[in-house]
């Protein structure tokens, strides 16, 4: 794994924004790094919507919000002096995405953490950066935590957890 290949796993949360800012400020002006900002799609729960149309609409709104976030993340990184061609953004759709139903590479949605680590392994990323929102133990037990699972399961790479 190449430690200079950096994977920043994000959602559109403040914690993810902090992780991006941390990398931007740490590496701004440096060369030799390749950074990918990754989002694994977690579509709105289909069961929550009365019909397909409203579910698709919610999915579209979410996708717009995420893609805006990803563009902002890239701007944040390049704004700190990281070369634009060193920054890639990657949006991996869910396999049953309301907005990207025919995507070739997709997430089955069982575990976002495992999907992140699959991208990390396949892309030879030696450094993985992820935000953390500081959940209570009870919340972590009941709902799980992507960050905790990533730190438990990660192999052959360094994980930076930004809180």
């Amino acid at each position: 794994m190449d430690p200079k290949k950096i994977l920043i796993a994000v959602d559109a949360s403040d914690n993810a924004a902090r992780a991006v800012t941390y990398v931007a400020e740490l590496l701004g002006g440096s060369t030799g790094f390749l950074i990918t900002v990754l989002y694994i799609e977690r579509p709105p729960n289909r069961d929550l919507y009365p019909d397909e149309a409203s579910w698709v609409e919610a999915g579209q709104a979410q996708e717009l919000r995420i893609r805006t976030f990803l563009q902002q993340a890239k701007s944040n990184l390049t704004g700190q002096g990281i070369a634009p061609d060193a920054v890639t953004i990657s949006y991996v759709p869910h396999c049953q995405s309301p907005v990207n139903p025919a995507a070739q590479q997709c997430s089955i949605g069982t575990s976002i953490a495992r999907d992140i680590l699959q991208v990390q392994q396949q892309g030879d990323f030696g450094t993985l950066v992820i935000g953390r929102r500081g959940v209570s133990r009870a919340e972590e037990f009941l709902f799980g935590s992507v960050t905790t699972k990533v730190t438990h399961l990660a192999k052959d790479c360094t994980v930076w957890v930004v809180q």
Binding site: R42, P44, N45, R46, D47, L48, P50, G109, S111, I112, A113, S136, R137, A138, E139, E140, F141, L142, F143, G144, S145, V146, K149
Partner: protein
């Protein structure tokens, strides 16, 4: 047939004409559907008897979207759940999560568990307006928790004489939930009000699968926590709390000191460390309970893990009965 009375009188000639209401193929306005109305689901007729009620803390809360009915040709009692999209916060002790009612989810689970008597049975059918109506068989019996609460035995007798058989069935109820999880579903609202003891068969039957919430990294977590809570109730024969332990009629040891770590991770007044008040609770069983305490460092990732720990406890209690 063009009106409700015509239909009712054919199958129930004694029904008073003046109480016959509307004949409905569209259930969208469920608040206006009331006693004497007939719901026509593609030629199957359901006479509405009343709104279902949920009872908590002695108060009856009507569920206007759930109708107690009689299917007219057969006379069979049915429950019709009409479409009601509701978002509401659910308090889990100190935590609050947003829940949703999803007819689609419940309909899917009804299909999945058809013939599996560990779950309520029924089917779904769209009304003329496309509303997903769930037609449910009535589970005859009583809430398991009420049954356990009413058993007139002291805790020690309950624990050694009755609990092993109760836990045997509870393990099976847990396996039912595990079955849902293995099929990518969850119950969504595991609590005392949703597990019934069926009259006649003695089966434990899960009801109400329409709750859902946004996906999380651990989608089974809430269900497992719900099972843990039920287990606390069953082992204690009640929830042992900071309110009832000091009472003179409490049937366990009350003169013990408690720490925050002895209580549920979410319900801070609910004792998880039951061995403190009932010292004959075996360590192994208490260890299962302590997974749901605020002291816990590990949580069951799936139902199977919990059952691996729980199942051997039954024999231990039975052996304890012989020695006690």
């Amino acid at each position: 047939m063009t009106n409700a009375y015509e239909i009712i009188s054919r199958f129930d000639p004694d029904f008073p004409r003046k109480r016959a209401g509307q004949l409905l193929t569209d259930t969208t306005e469920f608040m206006n559907i009331t006693y004497g109305d007939v719901i026509d689901l593609d030629g199957r007729y359901f006479l509405v008897l009343r709104d279902e009620k949920e009872r908590s803390f002695g108060v009856e809360d009507p569920k206007y979207w759930v109708k107690r009915c009689r299917e007219l040709p057969t006379g069979e009692r049915k429950i019709l759940k009409l479409v009601f999209y509701e978002r509401f916060p659910v308090s889990m002790g100190s935590m609050e999560i947003e829940c949703f009612r999803s007819p689609r989810k419940e309909a899917r689970i009804l299909d999945l568990v058809r013939g599996d008597m560990r779950f309520m049975q029924g089917y779904s059918h769209d009304d003329a307006a496309g509303n997903n109506v769930r037609v449910l068989d009535v589970v005859k019996g009583e809430l398991l928790s009420l049954h356990v609460d009413r058993l007139e035995v002291d805790h020690r007798t309950y624990f050694f004489e009755l609990l092993p058989d109760i836990l045997d069935k509870f393990v099976e109820a847990c396996r039912a939930i595990e079955f849902l999880h293995k099929h990518g579903e969850n119950h969504g609202d595991i609590r005392r009000d949703h597990l019934w003891l069926e009259q006649g068969t003695g089966n434990y039957v899960w009801i109400d699968f329409d709750y859902t919430y946004e996906f999380q990294e651990n989608p089974s977590g809430l269900d497992i926590f719900g099972l843990g809570n039920l287990l606390l109730f069953l082992v204690g024969k009640k929830f042992c709390t900071t309110f009832n332990i000091p009472r003179p009629d409490f049937d366990g040891k009350a003169d013990v000191s408690f720490e925050a770590a002895d209580f549920s991770m979410l319900f801070k007044n609910r004792l998880a460390n039951l061995r403190k008040v009932y010292p004959y609770v075996p360590h192994a069983l208490n260890n299962v309970l302590m997974h749901f305490s605020s002291a816990s460092e590990v949580f069951y990732f799936n139902v199977g893990e919990m059952l691996e720990d729980l199942a051997p406890c039954l024999d231990e209690i039975r052996r304890g009965r012989i020695n006690s």
